[in-house]
Subunit: 258 residues, 2 copies
């Protein structure tokens, strides 16, 4: 697929009159692209990612499938735009002195946003293309918060990566897709396998299972749209933030001691 570089736009009829702005869409076509991306997101919200196709999108727009390729280079490029369209409001006002509070807010808000479009969850962390659409304001905010905490240079980058892993990792897994078809059969078989877990080999798992069933990763048949994991998320981000704080304090101590 994918054709590097979208020939249709480049060539523009070899001998014809030269286009004024080569490759740059004018405001009007930008609007049209917005519409393509927005209805793609709507279709994915409604029917799920597996059901989504460029042909259905074209149908919803009242247009031939090939028309999509005018606005977007690729299926993957379209999905990347869908992701950044859905997450574009993750940004917050710049962090102040209370970096812990700001980070908490960001992570919670990001999770809420993804919960609004659960079917795009599998795209968020897994494609460099989708990833690359992140808002610079969000990145700047995270860096500032961590800088306020005391991270610098290499450690600032590491801490940034840790925050992003947490931001994306929990909610991605929380909203893991349930099987589309065979769902009932699968759930029944899965529950049977859980019931057959050997309490002698796995005593703690067996005794905790009644409380964990369908509420713990790897032991669920419903995802976060039906069974959100709020308290697990809270503990997760709180632990991370506390751990980051400890590390930053420790580093500051090292610096002072030098």
């Amino acid at each position: 697929m994918t054709s590097t570089s979208k020939p249709a736009r480049r060539k523009t009829a070899p001998g014809a009159q030269a286009p004024r702005r080569r490759g740059r869409p004018n405001p009007e076509s930008a609007l049209a692209k917005e519409q393509v991306v927005a209805t793609a997101l709507r279709l994915i919200d409604e029917d799920g990612l597996e059901q989504f196709s460029l042909r259905k999108l074209a149908g919803a727009l009242g247009v031939y499938p090939a028309a999509i390729y005018w606005h977007v280079v690729d299926r993957n490029a379209l999905l990347a735009e869908v992701v950044s369209h859905a997450l574009q409001d993750a940004v917050l006002p710049a962090p102040g002195a209370d970096w812990k509070h700001w980070l908490r807010e960001l992570l919670q808000r990001f999770r809420q946003l993804v919960h609004r479009h659960p079917n795009i969850a599998p795209l968020i962390g897994t494609q460099l293309l989708s990833n690359s659409g992140a808002a610079p304001a969000m990145i700047e905010g995270i860096l500032q918060a961590l800088h306020t905490a005391g991270f610098e240079d290499e450690l600032l980058i590491d801490a940034y990566n840790a925050v992003l892993a947490a931001q994306v990792g929990f909610v991605t897994q929380e909203l893991a897709q349930a099987p589309a078809e065979d769902a009932d059969n699968w759930r029944a078989g899965f529950q049977r396998r859980l019931r057959d877990i050997d309490p002698l080999a796995y005593p703690l798992l067996a005794s905790t299972l009644p409380a964990m069933e369908n509420k713990a990763f790897c032991l669920r048949w419903s995802n976060g749209t039906e069974v959100p994991l709020d308290s697990g998320f809270q503990l997760f981000i709180e632990a991370l933030i506390v751990g980051l704080e400890q590390r930053a304090l420790h580093e500051a101590g090292n610096v002072r001691r030098r």
Copy 2:
């Protein structure tokens, strides 16, 4: 796992002689299934997930596409088996008193395993089906470690979910798939966008960018197979473990005070 139902196996030619073991494959066919899953994993390792198809798998096995459906209910079910096949060695001997050390080892080992099969990364956290194949021994180990740390009841479940989010979240994002085709063009365009980041609007990002480029989430054009994020991962799991420890100590304090 997951087969449940599979009509072809159930029907077995309506009027024909009754099969002795209905639905349960004999040892020989179990071997054959192993082979199907193993070569599927090999193809995905070699050519990537996007290039993988049941028809190519059939070709590699010297068999008609429909034959795959004897061993596996579905494309998704096959992929789930591929994931648990690839991750089956994540298990460690039971944790002792040093739960922090055990958790560190587990998370590091899990990451190493995924790095051995980077192309399955997008499947790991994103599908309940793939998720449900996790080894009970691993779950038991995590629960024991956290129990040793001092977590119980609801908090034990929350802490377990936090550990799994960390285990899966970092490496999944670290190994996010690069665009298959258009790669060079995309990278060039992406680098240009990075260079155009406004230092007035995003001062810290702009000044840190040279050190972050291609090493920080959302700012990369290579994934973890080319540029592994070791130090970020270490900081991440260390922060989480320290944060969990603090929380456990705090809870223990509460209990003592009651």
